[in-house]
Amino acid sequence: MTILETGGERLLAAVRALLEQKGIVSTNEIMERMAITDSASPGQGARMVAKAWVDPAYRARMLEDGTKAAEELGIPMRGMPPLGVLENTAEVHHLVVCTLCSCYPRAVLGYPPLWYKSAGYRARAVRDPRELLASEWKTFIPDSVKVRVVDSTADYRWMVLPERPSGTDGWDEARLAGIVRVGDMIGVTVPGV
């Protein structure tokens, strides 16, 4: 029997046992990492965005070092690639893509949406991002705003800090976090109320 014909569960148990025996990684560490992966969701990134909207000092720290800013809010970042944060302004709109594979800031956004990994999204994002956003998401970037496509090709993971929409004056962090969607932090949509 070859490795390809072995039952997946048996193979996993064998590999886990070997990892433990060789002192590479313990079952507890695997369980801990599974729990962290499963608990990561766009809600984590939304909390960071909302805090950045109400706290200028936090916003500055987040743009300087996304990993530290995530940890500040209790988001587990140990063993994760460094997190970079891209700030949308009246002058520039960021769109994140990984043309080579599917690099994604899972620690703060959870599992990527299926379309994020599609060949169509990856190709169109770098070739004609304005057309992609307009036709697939009805997101229209004004001509006065520069589109900066961020191709996540190596060791960083990138999330977008969108602009705070008008009509949210006086809102607290929890209410603001409630309007931030995953697409807003990838750059395919912009938050609105």
Partner: protein, 92 residues
Amino acid sequence: MFASGETVRVKDAWPEATGPVHIRTPYYVRGVVGEVVRHLGDFPNPEDLAFARPAERRPLYHVRFRKSAIWPEPKPDDELLIEIFEHWLERP
């Protein structure tokens, strides 16, 4: 090392043509001139890491390209921002 704001060209190299490789430099920027935005840090060279070879840490840069340098572009100010390792960059 390259400084922020320095003009660089991505090497017009195609190691894919000569054997199995793991390259993190997209095809569409090979040979294209851009500008270093900043040094992001030093990371193990993925071209060795992928084959379980000892991987030297190499400087990684965020490099900005005008979209019009790559494709015919009706919005010439639009940009691409890409992570590129130092050994893929040269002074034009």
